[in-house]
Point group: C3
Chain length 138, copies 3
């Protein structure tokens, strides 16, 4: 059995957005008890990750790490047509995930206690982002 | 056909652990000839990777690279409740993988000659880690 | 329904190679309308990524970023038997992807407008690379 759904998210600009409950809702609606849930982002300047969902400081520290490792406006970058955060957004996306594949057990994504599913917006301006969900199983 | 299994691994602290034979055993037991094997770690301070399995120096060099890139006790990090390796463990996990998806052919994961499946413990203290395996196919 | 195919690519050395049309062709031949396409590289010194497919400067900037972050010949590396680009190729592979999992809709990978599928050769010398495709669905 296969079921597909789309999540649309209007971001407020750079930062992380918890989409765990949207993913769990789609799995529930798919009516699949055992299988896998593929989460796929249709963009190259925003990405996905699984991360600790308890302390907001984790997200701030991740953002600080990425800002230092892939600095906006780095003179090394030549692809700057959309601004100083354009190329860093692509690099950040390549260093994280465009797809996540989560085991489904007993009708829900069987995440660890502290695991949340996040969309990471890497552009500084707000964007409309589309995430495809494909649930496969019995 | 879908089959799920769980691997439990007690780590001795930071380092890499070869779980290739556990993954291959689960695929064998699933009795699936053609399909995919999803490997999923239910933690945010340990991760998965595929890497060269012949020379132990590769693992030491990977560890050295990560220690330099994401230093323990970096003053930039504010999420330090569990110690100087707490936030680096989350960053290292985000930069590597929480799930791997391996083609199954002729009843086994069709890895390249030098590819091994590794669990990477990022915390310095020993931890019990759970890895879910989902094999789907015919 | 499951279908597997292999892509062979002779690289000209370090750089990115667009394999989007090969992947789409394999999905078309599989005759699967709805499902997932797994793309898997059977190597540990070349990797996969989804990235912006419009401006070639993006690929040059990505290469420049990786060359600075994981420098060839870094004295930290001890696994140097195959040359100064040997260990950096493994690190670059670990920081990017060995497998991609793309939603299939209406008989093709449902990528975003600017998303291309790339093989990233990290060795400086030419290599023959094998990529496995597994398409699952209805």
């Amino acid at each position: 059995m296969i079921s597909q759904a789309e999540i649309r998210l209007d971001t407020r600009g750079r930062g992380t957005y918890d989409i765990t409950s949207d993913v769990q809702a789609a799995v529930r609606e798919a009516g699949i008890a055992t299988g896998l849930c593929n989460v796929f982002i249709r963009h190259t300047s925003a990405s996905l990750m699984l991360c600790e969902n308890a302390d907001p400081a984790v997200m701030r520290d991740l953002e600080a790490f990425m800002s230092r490792t892939v600095p906006d406006g780095d003179p090394m970058f030549t692809h700057t047509s959309e601004g100083p955060d354009d190329m860093p957004a692509h690099v950040r996306s390549v260093l994280t995930q465009s797809d996540l594949n989560l085991p489904v057990r007993d009708g829900r994504c069987d995440l660890g206690t502290w695991q949340g599913v996040y969309l990471w917006e890497h552009r500084t301006a707000p964007h409309r982002r589309k995430v495809m969900l494909t649930v496969q199983g019995d």
